[in-house]
C-alpha cells in the first residue's frame, strides 16, 4: 500500500480538522438533514459501527437505542451541524442508520397537524 503523500496542512484554519473528520466529503444539500430530521441506528449496525471514525462512532453510539433529531445529535456530540450532516449522509449511505424526514412543507400548513400541536400543548401545560 503506497504511503499517502504528506500534505502541508494549514493548522490555523478551522476547516482542516473538520475536513479530516469527514474524510474529505462535501456537505450534502442542507435540507437533506434538517434540524428536525430524526435518526436512529439501524438494527444490527453495532458491529459495523466499531470500524468507523471516532466521530461517526460517537454519532452511532448516541443514536444506538432510539430516535433523536439531527439538532440533538449535534448538540450532544458538540460537533458543528455541518459536520454532523456529512457524517449522517455517510452513515445512511452505508445503511447504518434509519432516517425519518419531516414532511415537506405543503402549500399551507396542515390544519390537522397544527390542531394536534395545540391539543398537545394544552394537555401538557394544563391550559
Amino acid at each position: 500500500m503506497p504511503d499517502e503523500p504528506e500534505h502541508e496542512l494549514e493548522l490555523t484554519s478551522p476547516l482542516v480538522p473538520l475536513f479530516v473528520i469527514t474524510n474529505g466529503r462535501a456537505l450534502p444539500p442542507d435540507h437533506e438533514y434538517e434540524h428536525t430530521t430524526l435518526v436512529m441506528a439501524a438494527p444490527e449496525s453495532a458491529a459495523a459501527a466499531r470500524t468507523l471514525s471516532p466521530e461517526a462512532g460517537q454519532v452511532m453510539e448516541l443514536v444506538a437505542d432510539g430516535f433523536l433529531s439531527v439538532a440533538e445529535v449535534a448538540g450532544h456530540t458538540h460537533l458543528p451541524l455541518g459536520i454532523v450532516r456529512i457524517l449522517l449522509a455517510q452513515l445512511e449511505e452505508d445503511g447504518l442508520i434509519l432516517v425519518r424526514r419531516p414532511i415537506p412543507r405543503a402549500e399551507r400548513v396542515d390544519r390537522e397537524l397544527v390542531s394536534a400541536v395545540l391539543d398537545g400543548l394544552k394537555n401538557r401545560f394544563g391550559a
Binding site: H35, F67, A71, G75, R105, L118, G120, K122
Partner: protein, 186 residues
Amino acid sequence: MYLDPDVSHAVKILIVGHFGVGKTTCIGSLSEIEPLRTEEEITEASEGYDDLSGTPHKKTTTVAMDFGRLTLSDTLVLYLFGTPGQERFKEMWEELSRGALGALVLVDPERLHESFPVLDLVESFGLAYAIGVNHFEGTTDYPLDEIHEALNLTADTPVVRCDVRDETTSAQALITLVTHLMSQLG
C-alpha cells in the same frame, strides 16, 4: 433522552428576538430536555484582511443556537429553536423558517425599537407570529395595546405578557401563538 419509537411528526416553532431578550431562558422554561446548543455555519463578508480559505470576500463563521424539545403525543414532537434576530443571520433563517409552524417573537418593553429588525425578518420569511412581552415582576407594566401600537402590528397579531423564567406564562404565550396559527388556517 430518546423520542417515542412511534414518533412520526417532528415540527418546529421559532423563538425569536433580539440579543438578550430571553430566548434561551424561555426555551429552558418550556423544554423537557436540558436545552442543547448547535454550532451553525454562516458565511459573512470578511473584513479587509488576508483570508486563507481562498475566498477573499466571504468567510465562514459559526453561530451558537439553543433549542429545546416538547413531546406532545406518541407520534408528535415539537422543537423550539431560539433564533437570533439580526439581519446577518438571514442564512440560518432561510433554513429554519422552512417548514416552521410559526414564530414567537419575544420583546423587551424597555427596548422595543430593537425588535423592528426581528419583525422585518419574520415578515420577510412569511412566518405567522405572536408577540410575547417579557415582563419581570417589579418592572413597569406597559399596557399591551400600547405595545401593539408601538410595534405597528396588524390588528389580529396577538400580544401577550409572559415571564420567560416561568413555565406557565411561557406556555401560555406558545398556546396563544398556536391558537393564532389555527385561526389563520380558517
